[in-house]
């Protein structure tokens, strides 16, 4: 089976500084040789610290910015070879949701107009049926159709994010890029949006690229995870495998630092020393070597390649086989206490589940 999305050797360097004559003299190596693939109906999470290039990758995949090198194949087609018409067709198949639902919706358009625009642009639905289709899409994301007449400012943050999702769904895409879609939301709203994204994936067979720095959310939603550091993928694996035993020293540090909602949780946190090196001038060899507790001389000169272990877990580290076991690195939150388990179940199933009944 061919993957829905195949990315190979993607490179993007931004010019950071030009000489007096306009010749570029400094580059930010935002993305430097990134490869991955994603199957239909699955979720790939890109994780890493700010500035690691995860958002740039997501924009390159949509060709919102042009890569300097590498290939992107979507459903077998070479994206970078597409002309304007071809690109427009591709936009029907891949959409994006941004972090800030306050900034990503036009305040001068009603929700109905926002959702009709993609239908009209791509000529998907005859004008007479557009209103009905908008109502249908709104219901899909859990909003009432009558809200189509309102403007974005009349909605809460969570509702606005639902509208942004509805707009992405309007063109019936196969892939949605979710760039920190729940980071700006309160916890109770966050869970509603995460539930919605998952439900829509099951129903519509969507593939997601999920960009996030919240690792508990990633564990919850992703099938596959790619860990990025300074423009490169340092480790990629099935989500469960990665969280069970992260291989790369950077992934270990990242996952060991997740704050878990359990007091006195056992943890072997690795607190990284030193600052993140600048992507303007990444260190030679392994880009993590300045902060790595396991660094040896070879790491300072030779860049490690991503080496798969045969079951789809690939790590870019010279010392993969020599590192101590990482089985206890990810903190355990022990799930719910027995009482909390029952209370949450009762909370979720509503008044009927509670002894003594409701109103």
């Amino acid at each position: 089976m061919t993957a829905l999305l195949e990315v190979n050797g993607l490179v993007k360097h931004f010019v950071a500084e030009r000489s007096l004559f306009g010749r570029p003299v400094a580059h930010v190596k935002a993305v430097d040789g990134v490869s991955f693939s994603l199957e239909a109906g699955k979720t790939l999470a890109l994780v890493g610290e700010s500035g690691c290039g995860k958002s740039t990758v997501s924009r390159l995949v949509l060709r919102l910015i042009e890569p300097d090198a590498g290939t992107v194949r979507f459903a077998g087609r070479d994206l970078l070879a597409l002309d304007a018409g071809g690109l427009r067709k591709f936009r029907r198949e891949a959409q994006i949701i941004f972090q800030d639902p306050y900034a990503s919706l036009n305040p001068r358009m009603t929700v109905g107009q926002i959702l009709t625009e993609p239908l009209a642009l791509h000529d998907l639905v005859p004008p007479a049926q557009r209103r009905a289709r908008v109502a249908e899409i709104l219901r899909l994301v859990g909003l009432e159709p009558r809200l189509a007449r309102r403007y974005p400012h009349e909605f809460s943050g969570g509702q606005r994010q639902r509208i942004a999702i509805a707009r992405a769904l309007a063109v019936e895409p196969k892939l949605i890029i979710c760039d920190e879609p729940v980071s700006a939301l309160d916890v109770s709203i966050r869970s509603q949006i995460l539930n919605l994204l998952r439900e829509l994936q099951d129903r519509l067979g969507l593939a997601y690229i999920f960009v996030s720095h919240d690792l508990a959310v990633v564990k919850h939603i992703a099938d596959h995870v790619a860990v990025m550091n300074l423009g490169q993928i340092v480790e990629t694996a099935e989500a469960d495998a990665l969280f069970a035993a992260p291989g790369h020293p950077y992934s270990r540090a990242l996952l060991s630092a997740i704050p878990v909602p359990k007091p006195q949780a056992k943890r072997s946190r690795i607190v990284l020393q030193g600052e993140i090196p600048s992507a303007l001038n990444p260190p030679p060899g392994c880009r993590f070597h300045t902060r790595c507790p396991y660094v040896i001389d070879r790491c300072r000169s030779e860049m490690p390649q991503l080496v798969p272990d045969g079951i789809g877990h690939a790590t870019a580290c010279h010392r993969t086989s020599e590192l101590p076991s990482s089985a206890a690195i990810v903190p355990s939150d022990g799930g719910f206490s027995p009482v909390l388990e029952k209370l949450v179940a009762a909370f979720s199933s509503g008044p009927e589940a509670v002894r003594g009944g409701g109103v």
Partner: protein, 329 residues
């Protein structure tokens, strides 16, 4: 709990008078206390009143629009009755605050050294030279590399994590007795967050200061707090020692919050959600403020506001159905 708390808040009420004559009930009958060396977590979602409470402690609410009543006792003073001059002597000295946005809370036109030295000179006096030495020492304490050089840099030269550490260094400049940290790690990556939390723990151990940590991140609360107060719509709905809050919460809102965060060890297909919206605080509901969203609601809940009662030793809940175990056993 120690005999006399460092800070004690009694029946704090804060109302904001809007230009259009509307009155918003931001905080209602809040009672809190923190002992020396203890860390209290103040938890809740946007608009629940947690930041307003901390601003009231610091005396930073606008006098024209905020109507404050109750008492905030700190070190023998009632902060609400204290003249501005005395408050200015306290702030940055025995009372310090770390704000969420390290980008906007540092002055871009002064070096970080100038900003820390200013605090030291204002409260401690002494020579500029000795203040500078102390500033370098503080920067070293918050693990800023080569502080002798960094001290002369402007905020824009520093990364987000470094700026947050500068903010902490500044808050610690005069060894505060009470440190209020308003979402100190929210804007940071998880690796930096780990560094900052580690730092806060170190400082508490070293100086014995009390900390009020305001956050919506329950993971952070579990890591550093001794006691937690959960706020909803301007009221404290639950207060408990941290272990108990996470193992046996006694307010439905807390249950909803705990159920809505993804767990590492518990792969749920669906997360719990809290349906409905926060009530309009210009006209707070007559009964329990959470009643409209609560699956455990009874008729009695909407009739009168429920009191905050002790369910077990040190564990308070503002829910007439507590103890909640009864509902599911």
């Amino acid at each position: 709990m120690s005999a006399s708390p460092l800070i004690e808040i009694r029946d704090l009420r804060i109302r904001f008078h809007g230009d259009d004559g509307r009155i918003t009930h931001a905080v209602d009958s809040v009672d809190l206390s923190v002992a020396n060396g203890a860390t209290l977590g103040l938890v809740g979602e946007s608009g629940c009143g947690k930041s307003v409470t901390s601003l009231a402690i610091m005396g930073l609410l606008p006098k024209q629009s905020a109507e404050i009543s109750g008492a905030i006792r700190f070190d023998g003073l009632d902060l609400l009755q204290t003249p501005d001059q005395t408050l200015r002597d306290l702030r940055g000295n025995r009372l310090a605050m770390i704000f969420q946005e390290p980008m906007t809370s540092l002055n871009p036109s002064f070096t970080i050294g100038d900003q820390i030295i200013e605090t030291i000179l204002r409260h401690r006096g002494g020579s500029r030279k000795s203040a500078r030495e102390r500033a370098v020492e503080l920067l070293r304490r918050v693990h800023i590399p080569s502080p002798e050089r960094r001290i002369d840099e402007y905020p824009h030269k520093l990364s987000g994590g470094m700026r947050q550490r500068v903010m902490i260094a500044m808050a610690l400049a005069c060894d505060p007795r009470l440190l209020i940290a308003d979402e100190p790690t929210t804007a940071l990556d998880v690796t930096l967050q780990a560094q900052i939390l580690e730092l806060m723990r170190e400082l508490k151990a070293a100086s014995g200061a009390a900390i009020i940590l305001i956050t919506h991140d329950l993971g952070v609360v579990a890591e550093v707090c001794d006691e937690v107060a959960v706020m909803y719509a301007g009221e404290i709905v639950e207060r408990a020692p941290v272990d108990e809050l996470f193992s046996a919460p006694q307010h439905p809102y807390t249950v909803g919050l705990l159920g809505s965060i993804p767990r590492l060890d518990h792969r749920a297909e669906q997360l719990a959600t809290i349906e409905g919206m926060v009530p309009n605080m210009a006209q707070p509901p007559a009964g329990c403020r959470f009643a409209a969203r609560c699956p455990f609601v009874l008729e009695a809940c909407t009739a009168a506001p429920p009191p905050l009662v002790e369910v077990s030793a040190g564990h308070l809940s503002r829910c007439i159905r507590a103890p909640l175990e009864r509902l599911v056993s």
